[in-house]
């Protein structure tokens, strides 16, 4: 006799429907966000401005207003939404790869590596003011990117040292070890910085203030290949959730797929950290919510997580930029949201584990 089940699964939403909804939300959000801020714009002005990008289009906006909209606000919003997309995608890949719905883009130490790299560059620029290239705003980003990529390489090397399969457990352990070492390094650098520690802390908090098209371009450069690589591996990722033996006997080269996905997802996350600092929560919660709504199939989960991440981070950035006094860093807002969200996921997971 079939047992009655206490928790019938809620029906799943069609991924196409969620995709359409998120796309619509993104467009509305973009228009709303363009219009709000210290210098507000009416929807008519925004439309007139946007049509000027079309061939033959022209805008009747005064020059300063057009500059604020096109030169300051738009690049910032695009950087925010691309970073959100990179974090959402990266989080979904990491959760699938590490077989853990609580993993996020930073689980393997990418963020600690980036923070360490940026801190090194900032302290060097403080102590060596004679080298002008060090004080360019792009240099900490470069340091962050290089060090997070290095961190990933070390984590993979550590993890495959005793375990050729590159199993989730050894990856997570190696990531935790590297994060601990790098955090110690960051504390030491903060100590060295003395009274000027605030410039490091501010960088680490995460913000999209004064981001340019260069920043957008850097994220896009890594997000696009990451998306293509992940989508091509989406079916393999589904199969790898069945475990090593099942995946291998179904013809999946698990080690190769893991390496490929680790590189793609980590570089996308690193690019986001490099331009915007450490923004938590997006990469954790978005894939989790999408999975709850449309199911765990990575073929839809990956693109929808990117879309959801873009919506969430654009919304968060708009709130801190235009609707909160004194522009707190967006990383602080998302970090504040992370606690309760973690709690919610944890409770749900415990309930799932203790059921049946």
């Amino acid at each position: 006799m079939p047992r009655p089940r206490p928790n019938p699964t809620p029906p799943r939403l069609s991924p196409y429907l969620l995709g359409a909804g998120l796309t619509a939300a993104l467009i509305v959000l973009l228009l709303w966000s363009l219009g709000s801020g210290h210098m507000p714009f009416s929807p008519g002005e925004i439309l007139s401005f946007l049509t000027s990008y079309l061939p033959g289009g022209e805008t009747d906006l005064p020059e300063t207003r057009a500059l604020v909209l096109g030169g300051v606000r738009l690049p910032r919003l695009v950087t925010a939404l691309l970073s959100g997309a990179a974090l959402g995608l990266s989080g979904a890949v990491f959760q699938g790869l590490l077989l853990n719905p609580l993993a996020d883009p930073y689980t393997l130490g990418v963020s600690s590596g980036a923070a360490f790299g940026a801190s090194v560059v900032i302290i060097l620029s403080l102590s060596l003011p004679a080298l002008p290239f060090l004080s360019s705003p792009l240099t900490p980003a470069l340091g962050a990117f290089v060090f997070s990529a290095l961190t990933l390489a070390v984590v993979v090397a550590l993890a495959s040292d005793g375990d050729k399969r590159l199993s989730p457990t050894s990856l997570i352990l190696a990531g935790v070890i590297m994060s601990a070492i790098l955090s110690a390094g960051i504390s030491f650098i903060k100590y060295l910085a003395g009274e000027q520690v605030s410039s490091i802390i501010f960088w680490l908090l995460g913000s999209f203030q004064a981001r340019t098209w260069t920043d957008s371009g850097l994220v896009l450069l890594f997000f696009c290949p990451a998306m293509v690589v992940s989508l091509l591996s989406a079916t393999d990722l589904n199969i790898m959730t069945l475990g090593f033996k099942s995946a291998e006997t179904l013809g999946v080269d698990t080690r190769r797929v893991r390496l490929r996905l680790l590189a793609a997802a980590s570089l996308a996350a690193s690019a986001s950290v490099a331009v915007a600092g450490i923004i938590g929560f997006v990469g954790l919660i978005v894939p989790h919510l999408v999975r709850l709504l449309t199911g765990p199939d990575h073929r839809s989960l990956l693109p929808l997580s990117a879309l959801g991440g873009a919506v969430l981070l654009l919304a968060a950035d708009t709130v801190v930029r235009a609707h909160l006094p004194g522009e707190i860093p967006v990383g602080v807002l998302t970090a504040l949201l992370a606690g309760p969200a973690f709690l919610m996921i944890f409770r749900r997971r415990m309930r799932d584990l203790t059921r049946g």
Partner: protein, 304 residues
């Protein structure tokens, strides 16, 4: 996204891979014994496998023929699961050779091997809430393109596997909400949906109840009689006697005995393999045999 070419294997065609097969009810559809003289599908020669200093498999020679259900038995640590892993290339032999359908196992590319040999591992952890149907359909992967689009025959193979394992009512349930026995049947259905001529099952009945285990074993025997080659690791000798064509005893990585139940299920053989006193007798109730064990008295000591 092109589908790989599916062609049914035929007797005497050593390269034949199974594909598009509906899970099988037609006898001899895998080109088994019905074809008359066909060689073994798997030949193991002087096989060694070392795990550190330990010889887990020790100069093993074995042939597995199509249309037969083999049960691998022996004490824990005898190398049963390791042998299964070696047969599907999850592990590489330290020495010796394995031939699959006339070709070395190593010469198969991963997709080709996955269309010939399927493994149902002993445990499969489900980390995400895929439905039963989705997991079973993942078994079609070796027959699909990169995006995993299912054709009608793939869906049909999955549905047949779901029905055969009695999972019809659970098909839309998330696998994370299943009991141990249900989860084990999902793993088997997934393996079956792979539509391979060779099936390797690692203790497939370990979390099933009595009725489910008997049902499963009779399905396994049918699968073999359809022309497949099935190798099952099991501790249940009485069930092996009823449902296996041949029983293979391993001990300390060596072949202890192989043959039909009347040849190998003897008091002396069981005593030497399992190091316990054994009695084998006919069982009128099941038509098979009854196997009983008793601890050996300690030599020179007294029973506790």
């Amino acid at each position: 996204m092109a589908r790989r070419e599916d062609r049914p294997p035929a007797a005497g065609d050593p390269d034949a891979a199974a594909g598009g097969h509906d899970g099988g009810t037609v006898a001899g559809s895998f080109g088994g014994r019905g074809g008359g003289k066909s060689g073994p599908w798997i030949s193991v020669r002087s096989l060694d496998f070392h795990h550190g200093p330990r010889k887990v498999i020790d100069s093993l020679d074995l042939d597995f023929h199509p249309g037969r259900h083999y049960v691998l038995a022996g004490p824990n640590g005898a190398g049963k699961s390791t042998l299964l892993d070696l047969l599907c290339r999850l592990r590489k032999p330290s020495a010796g050779s394995i031939e699959l359908m006339g070709r070395s196992l190593d010469s198969h590319d991963p997709g080709e091997l996955a269309r010939k040999v399927a493994l149902a591992p002993q445990s499969s952890a489900f980390n995400f809430a895929f439905t039963v149907r989705e997991v079973v359909r993942l078994g079609r992967r070796p027959h699909l393109g990169v995006w995993g689009v299912l054709g009608p025959e793939d869906k049909e193979a999955a549905e047949t596997a779901i029905r055969r394992l009695g999972l019809g009512k659970l098909a839309d349930k998330p696998v994370t909400a299943l009991s141990g026995g249900e989860a084990q049947r999902v793993v088997l259905a997934r393996t079956l949906a792979q539509s391979t001529p060779v099936l390797l099952l690692d203790e497939p009945t370990s979390s099933l109840d009595v009725a489910q285990a008997l049902e499963l074993l009779s399905v396994v025997r049918e699968l073999a009689e359809d022309g497949r080659l099935v190798v099952t690791v099991s501790h249940d000798l009485a069930a092996a006697a009823t449902y296996a064509h041949e029983i293979v005893f391993l001990k300390d990585g060596k072949l202890a005995a192989a043959g039909g139940r009347d040849e190998v299920l003897t008091d002396g053989m069981l005593e030497s393999v399992f190091e316990a006193q054994a009695r084998v007798g006919p069982d009128e109730f099941t038509g098979g045999v009854r196997v009983s064990f008793r601890r050996r008295p300690r030599r020179g000591g007294r029973p506790e």
